[in-house]
């Protein structure tokens, strides 16, 4: 693959150490069901779920245990067992969150699913299956897939993009899914193409995963039931944040989404590769989304691994299963190092959107105080949205976050490229977040 043919986004970006070698070659291993799971009731965009079961109810793996009427996604019992009621659990982003606890029945047999021919299903049937199965965007956003695919008929779509960039350093769960479930993802793409009524799908994969690119090419070439669908792989330059929505859409199609509109307006639907696999599971297997591969990695954990775990499993249980942490563990991050969330405890349940948990050692974390801005302009050079984090930061420090609109604060999606390169180690993502809050508060007035 020559460098010239690689797609990429037009401005900014960084290339931090990839650090994927810890886990990228490790096949996913299935962790036995934990003693109990806690399903956080809001692990998707939309309203929180309402539990459909009561304390002491018996549930079977795959049962719907909580649902929501409007935008949202069902929750299913990841294990067979007994409901223990609603408890508080720690959520990496919102802190305390309500979660439905289920105690596992160790005797229960795991449920098995077998594929059916989905080609006879209608669009509505497939959408209903996806919504019922509680499929959400598994790359981190958590937008309910059934709603995303239910596009208004007046919008003219032409492209489905599968996001397999996995540009976050360390994380390899999408990589493993692409290798281990290549066929399911291609089938999932066809399901979504049928729902959307279009025939072009591009799979964007960063070029540091040549085996995944090959696997897709082989699967597509060998596929005998294409039905006129045109599915291609687009190798992407290894450049953070290649996997961000705007960046990957621009890289693959050359179209820039104007600020503040949905991607469907420019004719594109974007889905994560893992979400595509979940769509396949929902439609062809009838299997709800209640387990996923999560990358456990970093110098702070004894045995890095890609583990298939039940949604709701506590990180502490998985760490125990993997043999514990190292003595110099200093920081635990739900997600990747660029956009993940540091957590204060290991007792947090895995959600549908947890792609990895990163364990950093003492010598890998930065606890130095930050300096004033020296106006080097590095952050402006690397911003993929063409913003001015330096200026926004200075305004926030001066207590004038509400005056930062002109620096494009609204377009910031917190990729952290600016803070990564800042030689003064300024917390620019924090400044951007504060500026967003101030702007929102000012708009409400």
């Amino acid at each position: 693959m020559s460098a010239e043919t690689l797609c990429t986004f037009p401005m900014g970006g960084i290339h931090p150490p990839e650090s994927k070698e810890l886990t990228e070659k490790l096949a996913s291993e299935v962790m036995p069901s934990p003693k109990r799971v806690r399903l956080i009731l809001k692990q998707h965009v939309g309203a929180p779920c309402k539990p459909l079961v009561k304390k002491k109810d018996k549930v079977t793996e795959g049962d719907v245990v909580a649902s929501v009427e409007k935008l949202g996604a069902n929750l299913h019992a990841p294990v067979s067992g007994t409901v223990k009621g609603v408890q508080n659990a720690l959520h990496p982003l919102v802190g305390n969150a309500k979660a439905l606890a289920i105690e596992t029945d160790p005797e229960a047999e795991p449920k098995t699913y077998s594929p059916v021919d989905w080609t006879g299903f209608s669009r509505e049937e497939m959408l209903a299956k996806i919504k019922d199965a509680g499929v959400v965007g598994m790359g981190g956003a958590g937008f309910p897939a059934g709603f995303k695919l239910d596009v208004r008929p007046d919008l003219k779509l032409d492209t489905l993009i599968l996001n397999g960039a996995e540009c976050e350093p360390y994380l390899t769960s999408d990589h493993r899914v692409m290798l281990e479930h290549t066929k399911d993802i291609v089938e999932g793409a066809k399901i979504m193409l049928k729902i959307l009524g279009i025939n072009y799908c591009a799979i964007g994969v960063e070029n540091n995963k040549p085996d995944a690119i090959q696997a897709f090419n082989r699967t597509i070439a060998e596929d005998t039931s294409k039905n006129g669908y045109n599915i291609v792989v687009k190798p992407l330059k290894v450049q953070y944040p290649q996997g961000s929505a705007d960046q990957i859409m621009q890289a693959v199609t050359g179209r820039a989404r104007p600020s503040g509109v949905r991607s469907s307006v420019i004719g594109i639907i974007l889905q994560n590769v893992y979400t595509t696999k979940a769509v396949y599971d929902a439609v062809a297997l009838g299997k709800p989304l209640y387990e996923r591969i999560v990358t456990f990695t970093g110098k702070g954990i004894k045995k890095p691994a890609n583990v298939m775990v039940k949604v709701g499993t506590s990180v502490a249980d998985i760490v125990e299963y993997l043999g514990g942490t190292t003595p110099d563990l200093a920081k635990v991050i739900a997600g990747g190092p660029m956009m993940g969330f540091a957590v204060s405890s290991l007792d947090i349940p895995i959600t549908k959107t947890t792609s990895g948990v990163l364990f950093l050692a003492k010598d890998e974390i930065d606890t130095e105080p930050y300096l004033p801005c020296v106006s080097c302009g590095f952050c402006v050079d690397v911003c993929p949205m063409g913003l001015e984090p330096n200026q926004a930061g200075v305004y926030v420090e001066a207590g004038r976050g509400k005056d930062t609109e002109e620096f494009g604060v609204d377009d910031c999606f917190l990729c952290g490229s600016c803070a990564y390169v800042c030689p003064a180690k300024r917390p620019l993502v924090q400044f951007m977040t504060l500026a967003k809050n101030d702007l929102r508060a000012a708009a409400r007035k």
């Binding site: 502490a316 956009m339 540091a342 377009d411 952290g416 803070a419 990564y420």
Partner: protein, 363 residues
């Protein structure tokens, strides 16, 4: 808190603990906002790299002018670092900033832009002016409006014009590096090429410094009277190019300063128009050090590409204007100082291109 209250809280905590046995795996964990790892470049690493890039001309200057240059530089650096320490100490601020290397850069640059034959108290005074007035009083690194070293120089030129325009050392041709040691203000007064050129013309310059090709060669290597930072264009360009290679500075400011000095000199610098000598204009005086090491100072130069080019062209134009029409033979210092305060405006006028700001009509 009363005892009973404490007991209640404790009881509540015990109750919670009994209900949810804490997992005794995790030690204390750090939490912070993302990103959780950062590039290895820090302000102090960049600053010390700049200092390293400034060292080759100093070494050469010892061979050309003798140890006097090294002493002047050391005095200037000690003055700047000392001022920063004392001033921050007196103001009750952290004195850690002396370790970031920025005061060292100021000291080196100040020594590089004053005549090496001045008495030692001059760089001390200049250092106080540069660090205390220009930097510390403005709020420290990142808040200064002007380049500190150049303010130090401008202050000395205004206060001690005779020493600052005559205490030059002639290059030593007999390789005796101890020739001027300790001579201080008794240094041999000689004239810089720009002074000769301004007041006596090209013929006098050639008479004094040799044919044009000899001048180009000597000026490029650094064998001529002048400040340390005005002599060796070659070594300064090497150092500057290293900074560009490391991506600590971009090429825009140095290139636009040098190109515009050459262009404007060529147009206006000779008899009639389009008759000037651009190469001589670049190699003499402080154009090279100004372009690579002073105009690129982060704090006092714009951050956007267009702004940087406008900034550089402004410096070039003002330099030529001062050289040709002003009272001083050299104008780089004042040109940079005049452009410095325009930096915030330039950043405001020339914004980065946004990814896709406006919703397209009818899309």
């Amino acid at each position: 808190m009363t005892e009973s209250e404490a007991t209640t809280v404790e009881a509540a905590e015990n109750a919670i603990a009994a209900e949810e046995p804490p997992k005794a795996i995790a030690p204390e964990l750090f939490v912070s906002i993302s990103p959780h790892f950062k590039s290895a470049d820090s302000v102090s690493k960049i600053m010390w790299t700049v200092v390293a890039c400034l060292m080759p001309p100093l070494v050469l200057s010892v061979f050309v002018f003798g140890f006097q240059t090294l002493i002047i530089t050391l005095v200037s650096v000690l003055s700047c670092v000392g001022t920063e320490y004392v001033a921050n100490r007196c103001l009750g601020r952290s004195t850690d900033s002396i370790k970031d290397g920025s005061a060292v850069i100021t000291g080196v640059l100040l020594a590089y832009v004053i005549p090496p034959g001045v008495p030692y108290w001059m760089p001390i005074l200049g250092g106080v002016m540069a660090i205390y007035v220009t930097k510390v009083l403005m709020g420290g690194l990142g808040y200064n409006m002007f380049n500190p070293a150049l303010i130090g120089r401008a202050f000395l030129v205004a206060s001690y014009p005779v020493a600052m325009t005559s205490a030059w050392l002639s290059p030593i041709r007999d390789a005796s590096v101890f020739k001027y040691m300790g001579s201080g203000a008794d240094a041999v007064s000689t004239a810089t090429p720009l002074y000769v050129l301004k007041h006596y013309g090209m013929a006098a310059l050639i008479e004094r410094f040799g044919s044009l090709s000899v001048i180009y060669r000597d000026f490029f290597i650094g064998l001529r009277p002048g400040c340390i930072g005005e002599t060796s264009a070659f070594l300064l360009i090497i150092g500057g190019c290293f900074l560009i290679y490391k991506r600590y500075v971009t090429w825009h400011v140095p290139a636009s300063v040098i190109a515009s000095v050459a262009l404007f000199t060529w147009i206006f610098g000779g008899e009639g128009f389009f008759n000037g000598n651009p190469l001589l204009a670049i190699l003499s005086g402080g154009v090279i050090i100004g372009a690579f090491f002073m105009a690129t100072d982060y704090v006092t130069s714009p951050t956007q590409v267009t702004g940087k080019i406008v900034f550089g062209v402004g410096i070039g134009a003002l330099t030529v204007l001062i050289r040709l029409k002003g009272g001083y033979p050299e104008g780089v210092c004042y040109a940079i100082l005049l452009m410095n305060p325009l930096t915030p405006a330039l950043d405001r006028w020339f914004r980065p291109k946004r990814f896709a700001p406006e919703p397209e009509e009818g899309a």
